[in-house]
């Protein structure tokens, strides 16, 4: 007759890290669907490629580190990283971009720092930044929405472009990106930025076909998809509301102030919210618990800082989008933020409360 000894509490809500990760992956589906709808198969191919690479890389490093492979390989964290990286990459980027990025994210950013729970930086964003700096050409070949393309790109066309650089018909990425009218198209953020340097006002830029009716053809829907996924996560309590909330508010406030001051050279608040990777960053990147702040107050500061950085980099920096840079900078600041935002323990510093 054996007695079962366990430490209290004996009850557990039966939540698991892997379940949490799975939930987050599911929450990306609306955004990915929107991406697929507007930009074709490119990102799906990249996601698949990234996930495969990530699993292989994770398996290799785990076996080198003598870790429990089965439990840790499928805890979902590597897959989530790969998915996020795949989403972030330009749809027509060459295959090796994904491979390199994925390996870097898993092997270097995550495992070399001690694996899950110990990485100071968000692996997907660190890999993205690494790729952007190392391979600027490939990393800026953004594909315009399908509706703006001169040709019709199918799955096999995309696959061929990603793996060989050319469609079966022999078109290069540059040719694909070329508008019917004969100019190369960029992302809405890029367009606005370029136009501003050309002396055009933001209002004039908004007439660009890339931007479409609202804040960017396709991009607005992708962001809406990620917002939907994020709300789902909030509803499931998989993420805490604080970080996305403070990030979005911060971005809103910054752009609003700028817009009030200089409406001609500043984009609208909603343009900032619904272009680029804003929603992805708000709900899927910044909420990464490992590299973020932990306390409520800390998360508010963390989010606000990220919002400010995103706005600054978008408007004054050299790169059109800024989520990745902002996230990495905030990751660096997170321990410091945590240090100074410790909650007051019950029964301590009662004087300060009153």
């Amino acid at each position: 007759m054996a007695f079962w000894i366990a430490s209290s509490p004996h009850n557990h809500q039966q939540s698991e890290t892997s379940a949490l990760m799975r939930l987050v992956i599911y929450a990306t589906i609306p955004g990915i669907l929107a991406q697929w709808y507007f930009f074709g198969w490119g990102n799906l191919i990249h996601i698949a490629l990234a996930v495969t690479t990530a699993i292989v890389a994770e398996f290799t490093v785990l076996s080198l580190r003598d870790k429990k492979i089965t439990s840790q390989l499928f805890d979902g964290s590597a897959i989530l990283t790969a998915v996020l990286l795949g989403i972030s990459l330009p749809a027509l980027a060459p295959w090796w971009i994904t491979i390199i990025g994925s390996i870097f994210a898993i092997a270097v950013v995550k495992q070399l720092y001690g694996g899950l729970g110990h990485n100071p930086f968000n692996p997907a964003m660190a890999a993205y930044v690494m790729l952007l700096i190392s391979f600027p050409v490939q990393m800026t070949q953004w594909q315009p929405p399908l509706s703006l393309l001169a040709m019709d790109i199918q799955f096999n066309d995309t696959l061929a472009v990603i793996f060989s650089g050319y469609t079966p018909q022999g078109y290069s990425v540059e040719q694909i990106r070329t508008h019917i009218d004969g100019y190369t198209m960029a992302t809405p953020l890029d367009t606005v930025k370029t136009n501003l340097t050309l002396g055009l006002t933001v209002a004039e830029s908004m007439n660009s076909p890339v931007i479409g009716k609202h804040f960017g053809l396709g991009w607005e829907w992708i962001n809406a998809g990620f917002l939907l996924g994020g709300l789902f996560l909030l509803f499931k309590k998989a993420i805490h509301w604080t970080t996305p909330f403070s990030f979005l508010i911060s971005l809103f406030v910054c752009s609003f102030i700028a817009f009030i001051i200089s409406p001609d050279s500043s984009t609208s608040t909603m343009f900032n919210w619904f272009t680029g990777a804003t929603m992805l960053g708000a709900f899927f990147i910044l909420t990464d618990p490992v590299s973020g702040a932990t306390s409520v107050k800390g998360r508010l500061v963390f989010g606000a800082l990220a919002g400010l950085l995103v706005y600054l980099i978008r408007n004054f920096g050299g790169y059109p989008d800024a989520i990745a840079f902002a996230v990495l900078l905030c990751n660096m600041a997170a321990p410091l933020i945590d240090q100074y935002t410790r909650p007051r323990t019950y029964g301590h510093d009662l004087g300060a409360k009153k």
Partner: protein
Amino acid sequence: MESVIERIKKGNFSHFHGGIHPPEQKFLTSTKPIASAQIPEQLIIPLRQHIGQAGKLIISVGDKVLKGQALTTIDTPMSLPVHAPTSGTITDIKLMPIPHPSGLSEACVILTPDGDDTWQPRKICPDYKLLSKENILDKIANAGIAGMGGAGFPTKVKVSTLSKIEYLIINAAECEPYITADDLLIQEHSPTILDGIKIIDHLLSPTNILIGIEDNKPKAIDALMKATADIDHLQVCVIPTKYPSGGEKQLIQILTGQEVPSGVLPSSLGIIMQNIGTCFAIADAVINDTPLIKRVVTISGQALEKPQNIWALIGTPVGFLTKHCGYQNNEKQHLIMGGPMMGFSLPTDQIPVIKSTNCILAPSEIEIASPFSSTSSKEVECIRCGQCADVCPAQLLPQELQWSAKAKDQAQLAKLNLFDCIECGACAYVCPSQIPLVHYYRVAKAEIRQQKLLDIKAEKAKVRFEARKLRLEREKIARAEKHKKAAEARKARMNSGTAAAKSEKSAVADALARVKAKKAQANKAIASSDNNKENPATEQVDSGKSQVANAIARAKSKKLAQQEQAQLDAIDTQQDNESPSSLATKQIEPVVIDKKAKVAAAIAKAKAKKRQKETTANNTDSNSESERNDSATTQSTSNKADHETIDTAVTESVNAPESANKTLDKKAKVAAAIAKAKAKKRQKETTANNTDSDTDTNSESNSESESNDSATIQSTSNKAEHETIDTAVTESVNAPESANKALDKKAKIAAAIAKAKSKAKSKAKAKSAIKSESDASLQNVETSTTKIEPSQEPMKNAEIEHETSDVQSKVNNNTADIDRKAKIAAAIAKAKAKKLANNTQKSSSESSKQKLQQPEHSEIVEAKAKNLEAENKKARVAAAVAKAKAKKLAASANKSTHSE
């Protein structure tokens, strides 16, 4: 600002941070009535069931006890008694596993019930208001009531607080899942509970009484509402269900909005909290005179057929209760005492129910698959999701605590307020990484406590060490001070010129002499090598022989030293032996001075050592003579006489006999002078006899046994032949006769000296002989205070003469026959000793007269005459000693022969 009561009346409550909503599972037992107590076969009653110390045991094994009878009494403020839950026999008092997470054993009383359940006489008190407060407090204390919510804090301490109480909070929250003990107790016994509340009210007179109860117990709320409707200042506060609202601090925050500062008791805020079960126990104790011997325990869990609440006797083994409820799980038992959140696993089902046990949980495996068991840990890395911090009611940062706990960073743990953790388990409950956070905290807490203990120990040790160092330092200083004072005093005394001062001076002089003697010995070695050069022919042989002789001398001196102590009393009479030895040396006329010198040095060394030991004893005797001693020593020292001489002189002076007079002073000086002279002579190859005799005479006076040795040794070394040794022995024995024969002047003188020493008649002859020598001898004689000499004179001359001649002839003829001679010598010695003894008595009067006639020695002789009788005895002893020595010498002579 609305008051707390107004707010509560409106149903607005404060909130505590965090909290969780685990499945309640209270339906399992909440609808069933409390089953009545069953008496198990055996009750295990731990002596300590509360926070504090165990009471003093007042029963012993074999005692019959009645139900409610106290087993222990209060002997410290934090102790509580335990009582017999039923009547029966105390069958054992031993260590048993107690209900504690550690599973440790503590002293328990084992009670075997007799089944009669006979109550001890009780005094029902229908109106507690007739009792004084002290009386009520006594009753509460003697009933052994401790907090029944889980912690087990002694209730008497809580209710006897002196602070002004604003809120009395009755905790009926029962926030842990599964547990319905309080719920059922309220449902069934609200009147009694109300009595208990009234008693506490009476004791503490709080401004408000608040009953905190979670909204998941509608029946209990109804019952309470009804029971308390007529009390104005009592509020039943129905609070939202959230774990852990039943925690003291949490409930206080919910009801009053106040936070209890860390490390402070709520009473300092004017708040007292009592568990509702405790109220029932208080009423029972005060009104019904019933000690705390039973309580409601929820037996729940899906592994039970009939989960229910039971009135369990304190001490009932858990297994008895689960069996009663139909426990089915036989393979992998998981019994939890307490709720699923804060309870602990039981290592066995023989753990007893105690005062604070509110629940026994017997879950099925699916029901509570604890992620934190020893066998199925699914712990993964923390991903810093922060959910733990969100639910922590103490607003701690569990994930940071966890890291610090893993890293054993105690400073950081303290900074993160680890000790404010109430171990509610909310963090671990929500942790997606399934980290047993509470377990980490418990371990860390234990480690910190341990470390604190060690620190205290180390601190104490340090203080002890410092104190010791200080003390040693103080003592050192004190000692130095003392020495300084003593030195000053001594100096003063020495300068004062009293006798005592002189003795002290002499001691100093002795020490000086000894040091010099050692130096001189070192020099002597050089001198001997010089001597060897002078005598190239004998050099090699001599050196070899001398070494042997030295060895022999040393060995002998040691032996003799041993004997000497025993013979100290009889020392005087031994002179007989000594003086002959000196004679013998004279007769032998050794060829090699070297040897003698060396031997003498060795002897002197040995003697010096011995005498040092004796000195103290002798000093006391010869205080008066110290003057003379000093002079002798100083003289000899200043004269740089032979080292041996110095030594002997020193020793002499030290051992100078009582008879020392002023005249002796002079004599001593003379003797010293002689010694000096002789030493010089000796160095100049004067006969060793002189030196020997000198040394002998000197040494004799000190300790005759020693001088005996030295004499013998000298003789031995002189001839370095066995025969010589023998003859020496025999001679020494026959010394008086040989002296009579007057071989030559020196011999005579020596003999005279020897005789004098050996109480032979030699004094007269010595006088006539070289004056200095005789002086010395006289001196020695005096010192030795032997008065046998005169008496012996005629006797020996007459009777012993032929014996001596025989012996001598034998010595001459049969030099090789050592053994024989030795024997003979021994025999002679014996005989002579006898004779001497006999003669002494006869001629004692005569001798005294003779002495008186001798003007020089008159004083001495007088002194001697006084001691005559005592000396007779001594003479006999000496004879015996002489015999023994003779034998030994013979033996050693043999040995030396062989070695050579």
